[in-house]
């Protein structure tokens, strides 16, 4: 299956392929991007900006995230572009560091939940039998409890710290990943090439990693975006409730909570971190929408 069979325009643009062979991965990605709708472009650009801000927070932010640099609740101005918070810390700097802390923690949590849920789902699909049954029933019960409520129970017992937060949310979210990874790999497990690998005597990790995983990547990648949004919103909600990321770490959810009093005076500053959360989730959703559309289009 070559790409030229699908796109007639390649015939008139042979110069785009100097080697004459298949396009490199980079070229293919660039071609797909060029045809992406504006909403997807918007999403990609926003995610890119967030990444740059998160990685270079230390150099971009005018002040440190924890330093008291002025009076409490100073208005927007020359020295403090977005004013200061309830303790006199620079709002802009905390917003910038928040990109690193809030997004970073949500990202690590999602990675962990995919590692746990994805691997367990693969194991359940490949081995079948009682392992599949036991895992499936356990996950069913875990999913019967609303995630936020379960997280609250566990946090009240273990206490709130970043490590506990990551572990608890990752564990609860891995149930959803398990369901998806199990159901998509079940479609692949019955394929002849998996059977062939089994008859060759390959071990379970090899079958999972080399035969099945590459074939279930597209739905998993899309799910990663959606799960990230969900984890991100859950952590933001918990931090907003005062039970997630603890002070003095700059975090968008708790920043909204701490400065909420300003809203009653008509000051929009507390809405900025909340808006930053919403903008990122909307952007990821746009990109995932487009990706799903592409992935389903390619399968036809």
């Amino acid at each position: 299956m070559t790409e030229s069979a699908h796109s007639p325009e390649t015939a008139v643009m042979p110069a785009a392929r100097p080697s004459g062979g298949r396009r490199t991965r980079g070229e293919r990605i660039w071609r797909a991007l060029r045809k992406a709708p504006p909403s997807a472009w918007f999403g990609i650009v926003v995610i890119g900006i967030y990444l740059v801000v998160a990685i270079f927070a230390h150099w971009i932010a005018p002040y440190s995230e924890t330093a008291l640099v002025g009076g409490a609740y100073e208005p927007w101005g020359e020295q403090f572009l977005l004013g200061t918070d309830q303790l006199g810390r620079d709002m802009l700097s905390r917003l910038i560091y928040g990109a690193r802390n809030t997004v970073g923690i949500a990202f690590v949590t999602t990675l962990l939940s995919f590692a746990v849920g994805g691997v367990l789902g693969l194991i359940a699909a490949v081995s079948g039998g009682w392992i599949d049954q036991v895992l499936g029933r356990m996950i069913d019960v875990l999913m019967a409890i609303p995630q936020l409520i379960f997280a609250l129970v566990l946090l009240s017992i273990l206490g709130s710290s970043v490590v506990n937060l990551i572990l608890i949310i990752a564990l609860l979210d891995s149930t959803r990943v398990f369901r998806l990874s199990r159901s998509v790999s079940q479609g692949v497990v019955v394929m002849d090439y998996v059977e062939a690998a089994r008859l060759r005597g390959e071990k379970l990790p090899w079958i999972m990693g080399r035969e099945i995983l590459p074939n279930i990547m597209p739905p998993l990648v899309a799910e990663f975006g959606l799960r990230f949004c969900f984890v991100f919103l859950t952590i933001a909600a918990l931090s907003f409730l005062g039970l997630g990321i603890q002070p003095p770490t700059a975090d968008w959810g708790s920043m909204v909570r701490d400065n909420a009093a300003l809203i009653t005076y008509g000051d929009i500053t507390p809405l900025l971190p909340a808006g930053a959360i919403a903008l990122l989730t909307v952007s990821v959703n746009f990109v995932v929408d487009w990706f799903l559309h592409k992935a389903s289009g390619l399968r036809e």
Binding site: I145, L148, S156, I157, A237, V256, T264, T281, N285, F286
Partner: protein, 325 residues
């Protein structure tokens, strides 16, 4: 036996079994308590004797099984135990968890009910309209607005509403204080903003699913038949498509009502509404475990019940099961 009755009974049994296992999990989580818990509740100055007395009172010295049987047995009689905030104090009045939960649960159900009463009809109407005028400007605007409201944290929506409807244009109040002696109208006025927030939170998903369920059916031959007969688009959707779309729509409505129960936690905190969600958040930060467990059980039971309802509605509205060959 009729297959519908049999499937419904199966689901009911499964739901009760799930609730049972969930109650075990909620009770077992106490076993994960870190060792220094008693001293962190009683303060650093607590003597070993007070700590031991506290642990006996809480039941930490007994086996998990007997603790669970006591707990679940009490709940069967409507006794959720006593709040830690009062345990350990020698005289003082004891606060029963059940007493704390009951009035707040009623408040929460009132708020969630008001939100559901507005959101469900609105979602159906908007969904049908979006399906009718699909791929038009109206559809696209609704699509982008709903996608953004799904992706926003609840507190963002809540504060935007406060900003515009309580601060810039003081139409409503931002503190949703209700007390039992208020008239219904006063209560409804007080909860206007939290209700709007919850409506926005659940509206989007229900509306999108309604639209998708109807559009999904529009390719069916009987829709084409209706169109060839010359029926008007509105009539095709209301008379031909909608009746067949009820199953997925009812399902998504029930799931969203279940979600509402959880979404209410954050909204209650924003508007300082005296509901069970705020009670639970307070209890978590005080690590008042009996209250946390009681609230969690109530939340989980409501959630499981509504999901069960979703299952049953889907089964009942499936014509293939209703008319077995």
């Amino acid at each position: 036996m009729n297959p519908v009755v049999r499937t419904v009974l199966q689901r009911l049994g499964l739901g009760i079994a799930t609730l049972f296992v969930v109650s075990i999990i909620i009770s077992m989580t106490i076993a994960m308590l870190p060792g220094d818990f008693a001293s962190s509740i009683l303060g650093q100055s607590a003597t070993p004797e007070t700590v031991a007395a506290f642990q006996r009172e809480v039941g930490l010295d007994r086996s998990p099984v007997s603790r669970y049987i006591d707990w679940i047995g009490g709940i069967a009689h409507g006794d959720f135990g006593e709040s830690y905030a009062s345990a350990g104090s020698l005289a003082g009045h004891r606060r029963e968890v059940a007493e704390m939960i009951e009035p707040r649960l009623l408040n929460t159900l009132f708020l969630a009910g008001a939100a559901a009463l507005i959101a469900v009809p609105l979602a159906l109407i908007l969904g049908v309209l979006a399906a009718l005028y699909r791929n038009t400007l109206f559809d696209r605007v609704v699509n982008i607005v709903t996608l953004s409201s799904i992706s926003s944290p609840e507190f963002f929506l809540a504060y935007i509403l406060i900003m515009f409807l309580a601060v810039k244009f003081p139409i409503f109040v931002s503190l949703a204080n209700v007390s039992p002696d208020m008239s219904l109208l006063d209560k409804l006025y007080a909860i206007a903003l939290p209700t709007f927030t919850l409506v926005l939170v659940i509206l989007a998903h229900m509306m999108r699913m309604t639209r998708a369920a109807i559009i999904n059916l529009l390719a069916s031959p009987y829709i084409e038949m209706g169109r060839l007969k010359g029926a008007r688009p509105m009539q095709i959707i209301l008379r031909h498509a909608l009746p067949n779309a009820w199953a997925p729509i009812a399902n998504v409505i029930a799931i969203n009502l279940a979600y509402l129960v959880v979404g209410v936690v954050v909204v209650e905190v924003v508007f300082t509404y005296p509901g069970i969600g705020q009670l639970m958040v307070d209890a978590v930060s005080k690590r008042d475990l009996p209250v946390v467990q009681g609230c969690a059980l109530v939340f989980a039971a409501t959630y499981i019940l509504l999901n069960l309802l979703a299952d049953i509605v889907t089964i009942i509205s499936n014509p293939r099961l209703l008319h077995p060959r």
